[in-house]
Symmetry: C2
Subunit: 183 residues, 2 copies
């Protein structure tokens, strides 16, 4: 199962909301959905080229001001169809590979304080992420961003996903630190 061709569908999904450039797609990933998805320029641009060749996206030539370097793409009918098909398929899952947990698992040769330090850093990272997400949630609630009520609902749910996950990580840190503190 694993994961393949996800960048294709991430791009189709983003373009299904609104047409945009490679740069726009990257920005969308880094802001709106950073919480659950990630892409690089080095992958977006070549994939855009291949999606164009496949005919699932097309250049939106109209309404471009002269001299603009921006290349705006929009999803085609074929693209929408393939996207809907993909949506209907069960999500593949990537096998877990947590570098932090790998380190933690084999950290018995480290002094107690170092292990506590490791856990503390991990907690701080998740606490920061948590705070960030809560802030974004407030901004979203306060209609700081201009999006449809429908879209907002999905983004809110995705934010909750991140918040709940961060809470879980923080909870684990508390438990794990407890083991090493009382010895």
């Amino acid at each position: 199962m694993a994961m393949k061709n996800n960048t294709k569908f991430a791009i189709l999904g983003i373009l299904s909301i609104a047409p945009g450039s490679g740069y726009d797609i990257k920005k969308y990933c880094d802001t709106v959905i950073a919480n659950v998805w990630h892409e690089n320029y080095g992958h977006i641009y070549p994939v855009l080229t291949s999606l164009l060749a496949e005919g699932v996206i097309r250049r939106q030539e109209e309404e471009q001001e002269e001299g603009s370097r921006r290349k705006i793409y929009e999803i085609t009918q074929k693209g929408r169809e393939e996207f809907i098909t993909w949506l209907g398929e069960p999500a593949g899952y990537a096998p877990v590979r947590s570098e932090f947990m790998l380190k933690f698992l084999f950290s018995s040769s480290l002094p107690r304080e170092n292990i506590l330090q490791m856990i503390s850093e991990y907690r701080v990272r998740h606490q920061r992420k948590y705070d960030e997400l809560v802030q974004t949630q407030k901004d979203l609630e306060a209609d700081y961003f201009i999006i449809s009520a429908d879209r907002k609902q999905y983004l809110k749910a995705a934010l909750r996903f991140g918040i709940i996950s961060s809470e879980a990580a923080i909870k684990w840190c508390g438990e794990a630190a407890g083991i090493f503190e009382n010895k």
Copy 2:
């Protein structure tokens, strides 16, 4: 930051507990630490070869019964040193890429029942994982496996990590389903 060379350190970590073959390493990944780590044969064997060339592991020639195909490796002093250094470095984190959340985010064009179905499948998957981990925890508690008290402590903590994460996912599913049920 991202993640590089993790297989090297996963192998060194596993061999730091006890010498073993490529097959043993794979089995260890699939059972004991499946919860937080994953490896393929197609990667383990070539990496073992390169680790041998680097001198961080060595063949344990002694005590092998005749005609055995098993190749037992053990970590060298150099390997232990590199492993300790790696342990001391802060863990890199892989940017989140949840195929499920990607689908969910853009699923607004799907009928309500399909979205509920998606969420339900996701919940079932995590519930199953949760049940499995709780069972493993019981087996571990009942000294079903032969491991040192020290090792047990780390494995228990890693199990808790999986259990807490599954609980979080299940919690999210409850919330998300709620959004679509009451409309």
